[in-house]
């Protein structure tokens, strides 16, 4: 067992999740099973494989391009024109649980 219930509760707390008492053992089991699988992957020798942060680093890019040019297609110029406009405010606020028509509103934040 790599993770115990206290680890699950810690992670759930960080994620703002409330787990009921009967959900906790299931989460412990699932997380351990995932970590066991990672252990299997760790058996592979990857010492000569470069670390990869994003799969899109290797796949879906024009392989003939090098350097900055390789990923340039996924960036943009610093201009408004021709790009997506900002939303009208009423639309931006439409899904808010609470608002006063100008601001999103949340229960009073005391800290910070």
């Amino acid at each position: 067992m790599k993770v115990a219930e206290k680890d699950v509760l810690y992670v759930a707390d960080l994620a703002n999740l409330e787990l009921s008492p009967d959900e906790r053992p299931r989460m412990v089991r699932d997380l351990n099973s995932i970590l066991d699988y990672i252990d299997r992957l760790n058996q592979l020798d990857t010492s000569d494989v470069a670390a990869m942060a994003q799969t899109s680093d290797r796949f879906g890019v024009d392989q003939s391009k090098r350097g900055s040019e390789r990923f340039a297609y996924a960036s943009r110029d610093d201009i408004h024109n021709g790009l997506r406009e900002s939303l009208p405010r009423d639309e931006a606020l439409a899904n808010a649980p609470e608002s006063d028509g100008n601001f999103f509103q949340v229960p009073k934040v005391i800290e910070r």
Partner: protein, 491 residues
């Protein structure tokens, strides 16, 4: 007012502060870092927002190339090594003004590392403060806690700032006094302003600073437990907050207590820091690579293009100006306080007949008057162009040094620039040779000893005669004419 705890001088001397600074600088792009919403400050709340910066599910970030260029430019100006490949990462935490529940930042592979800023030390030497890293990230929105009818129960959120590009500049813990921290920040701001990538406006939050501070017994290698001081909105307050916090920590230790690692807020009105109530787990951000963005690659070619836009930086400029204009290091510092001012000065100096004279006038006539009036050079009634014009007039002999001084006084009295005052006063020079000749005759007649000295070969006595004539004419005689006529009469 700063009210410091009562730490004895002897106790203070036993400890050494260790300070590191984290500075956030907003980049002057037109649009946000990952969407095309405007970055403009002061717009009606929640009008510069879109699915990306509101954190709507499924919205994808697209990187603004200009934000990268600005960050690289700042990194170069701060002597950093720019990494060819850097990775965006998600920093996970919950706060109402962070709509996605994570901030897109950079973590283990930042854009730039290993920089430094040089500051002056008390002894007249200099000290390098290391820069650990400089990375790109997005800003969060703004929480407003006061000023609303229901402010007692609610916090209002404006997401216009959400997604505005920032660079975070993290220093090494190389700073060992509040004064050094102040100097580091002043230099940093000056350099960033020169690059033009930010306006560094602290009131608008374009430059924000958090300080990590601890104390340790002098000579001890190991760091003490640090606290993080936040919520400080001017360099002066940061210095005060650090002074307070250092003494507070020493007091705690001297009383046999322990420093708890915590975030403290500075209250400028009271001059004190207060521990912020917060959850213990607040700092577990669970960074992981941002899967919605590609690696950021700044290759040599792009880097070279960006480097072309790197201006001459303040330190180098000061050294060159001392060399070129023969001014003091201090005055060069005043003239390079902002890039704009230095540009104005150099432009005016270059257009004048004698650039050095422009520098001399700034040094001898302008700065002293500004100081006497308590004005910053940006508030000077006399512009650099005005100084240049006055320098040319002196150079050509159209006005004397005495008249120039009078005109400068008038400029300050009336708060008008030199050309306006000169145009109105049109100081009349005495250019009537016969009138001057008459005065010269009188002066020669009553100073026979000096005449003898001159004729015996002591040519420097000439200055005495010129001075006498100028005094007699209230400085209004044309100096060149006076010189010519004097030479003739004395030979």
């Amino acid at each position: 007012m700063v009210t410091s705890p009562d730490t004895s001088v002897a106790a203070r001397a036993r400890y050494e502060p260790v300070i590191g600074l984290e500075v956030h600088v907003q980049l002057l792009t037109v649009t946000k870092i990952f969407c095309s919403c405007s970055t403009r400050f002061g717009e009606p709340p929640n009008t510069n927002v879109c699915p990306v910066c509101l954190g709507m599910p499924g919205a994808l970030p697209v990187l603004n190339r200009k934000s990268v260029e600005f960050a690289v430019l700042a990194a170069m100006a701060l002597n950093c090594r720019v990494n060819e490949t850097s990775i965006f990462a998600r920093k996970n935490y919950f706060y109402p003004d962070l709509p996605k529940g994570y901030q897109i930042s950079q973590y283990d592979k930042p854009l730039a590392e290993f920089g430094f800023i040089e500051i002056k030390t008390n002894g007249g030497g200099s000290k390098k403060i290391g820069i650990t890293r400089l990375h790109l990230e997005e800003d969060a929105g703004k929480s407003l806690h006061e000023g609303f009818p229901d402010a007692a129960e609610k916090t209002a959120i404006d997401l216009n700032r959400s997604g505005v590009p920032l660079i975070e500049i993290v220093s090494e813990p190389d700073i060992s006094s509040p004064d050094e921290a102040y100097d580091y920040l002043t230099r940093l701001k000056e350099i960033i302003l020169y690059t033009g990538v930010s306006d560094c406006n602290m009131e608008e939050g374009s430059l924000r600073c958090d300080a990590n501070v601890s104390v340790r017994p002098r000579g001890q290698k190991q760091f003490g437990t640090k606290t993080e001081v936040k919520n400080v909105n001017s360099f002066r307050f940061i210095r005060q907050a650090l002074e307070y916090e250092i003494e507070r920590q020493i007091d705690v230790l001297e009383a046999g207590g322990m420093i708890s690692q915590e975030t403290r807020l500075y209250n400028a009105n009271q001059g004190k820091t207060y521990a912020m109530r917060s959850k213990e787990q607040a700092h577990d951000y669970r960074y992981f690579p941002e899967p919605d963005l590609l690696p950021l690659v700044v290759d040599e070619k792009w880097k070279a293009q960006i480097a072309e836009r790197l201006p001459e930086l303040p330190e180098a400029r000061r050294a060159r100006m001392v060399r070129e204009y023969g001014i003091t290091e201090y005055d060069a510092g005043v003239l390079t306080a902002t890039k704009n001012l230095a540009d104005q000065f150099e432009e005016a100096a270059a257009a004048a007949k004698n650039p050095k004279r422009v520098a001399n006038l700034v040094q001898s006539e302008l700065l002293g008057r500004l100081k006497a009036k308590g004005l910053e050079i940006e508030q000077s009634p006399i512009s650099m162009k005005g100084v240049a014009l006055s320098a040319d007039l002196v150079e050509s002999g159209a006005i004397s040094g005495k008249i120039l001084k009078d005109l400068y006084d008038l400029c300050f009295e009336r708060n008008q620039d030199f050309p306006a005052v000169y145009g109105k006063e049109k100081p009349q020079q005495i250019t009537d040779s016969s009138a001057i000749e008459k005065m010269i005759d009188e002066v020669i007649a009553i100073n026979p000893r000096q005449v003898e000295q001159y004729r015996a070969g002591k040519k420097t006595v000439m200055g005495f005669f010129v001075g006498q004539i100028m005094k007699a004419t209230n400085g209004q005689a044309n100096p060149k004419l006076v010189n010519d006529l004097l030479s003739k009469k004395l030979e």
